[in-house]
Symmetry: C2
Subunit: 223 residues, 2 copies
């Protein structure tokens, strides 16, 4: 009866598993991976593992050193800033393009997500927050209808996912984010594309600031 899925290749399963382990923090930045260990854990040979690792490297989640090994990519403050600046640009664009394409139904859907975010914040329900926050941002990504930009945003989000998660509990973060979302939503309603874009850029940059601040605090505590 076997293990389960099975119409995906082993490589694909391994790829998704390691990817998720990185994004959800089971594998931490800087952590060392050896092919042998992964091979033992998942009970498969090294071939599909190596191929999965190559994919993850290309997507910026792992870093290799020839004949040395693999580690979960560790980002410098500078690199984190670069990634968030890129996201600000791309997500800002997505919002700007979306605005003109939205009808009443879209506004209702977004307002609904927005309400759930307010509730999640009030209850301090972080998983609920993360889920709806992803939906909120994803809505614009999809609506903009640019496949390439959508993929780039998703890829960049993955690179900082665990850094960002560590900062969600940052004081006042929820409150600030909700204000930003409200501003974006408001501009959408008024069909003010440029204003919506600016609000999104501000939103992502603020997130960047929170992430970096909480990172410094974490390091100060540790060192």
């Amino acid at each position: 009866m076997a293990e389960g899925q099975s119409d995906k290749s082993i490589r694909q399963n391994i790829y998704e598993r390691i990817r998720d382990d990185i994004t959800y923090g089971n594998l931490m930045p800087g952590e060392r991976l050896t092919e042998k260990k992964l091979s033992d854990i998942y009970g498969v040979s090294r071939s599909p593992i190596r191929e999965a690792l190559r994919q993850l490297e290309s997507e910026g989640l792992l870093s290799f050193e020839r004949n040395k090994g693999i580690e979960v990519r560790k980002l410098s403050i500078n690199q984190i800033e670069d990634i968030y600046e890129s996201r600000a640009l791309l997500e800002g664009y997505a919002v700007r393009i979306s605005v003109d394409r939205m009808d009443n139904k879209d506004i209702i859907n977004l307002s609904d997500i927005h309400r759930k975010l307010i509730k999640a914040a009030k209850d301090k329900d972080i998983p609920l927050w993360l889920q709806n926050n992803a939906q909120f941002h994803g809505y614009f990504r999809e609506k903009a209808g640019n496949e390439t930009i959508s993929q780039l945003i998703v890829m960049l989000k993955r690179r900082t996912y665990h850094y960002q998660n560590m900062s969600v509990s940052y004081e006042r973060a929820f409150e600030t984010y909700i204000e930003h979302h409200a501003a974006i939503l408001d501009s959408c309603k008024k069909k003010e594309a440029d204003s919506a874009e600016q609000s999104m850029i501000l939103h992502v940059r603020t997130t960047k600031r929170f992430v970096i601040e909480s990172l410094s605090i974490g390091r100060n505590l540790l060192l």
Copy 2:
């Protein structure tokens, strides 16, 4: 006395070779690759080849179908448009950020490249054009100092490289491009970042139009 490089891994060599074969048009979109054939051509086993292929897939240069095989990724008109829109956004950003960081030396360097482009256009020296055009665009990419955005631009350029090369000979292309470059350069001199950004966006979008038009013409001739 052996082949040459040799302190790069076989995988890395194969990766670069296939990548270049795609970007420079030795491998055409839609062309089918089999691991066996590549293995025979390069005289190595399939393992490093498969790993290289995975990298190229992640970068959007190949497309896979499970148990079916690999082909050089063929882009639809829509996908080409998406990629150029993304490039317009990213390269526009790079220019905008660059402007404030430029000193007289930079302006001189860019003017120099610009002059060489004019000469290449006059002589219809396409390789010289391509080389200096890459330098011109690369200058802003580097100057902007955002590693992530720089990598994204390079990746996206590769995806459309051979499509674009087919269109360089498009009538009036050189002339138009030189006007655009002049406008960008002019805005840089005047330190008008927004204007420079807009000129670059226009430039990339115009390139998109030329590529798509020359593509349609090519298809009409063929069908």
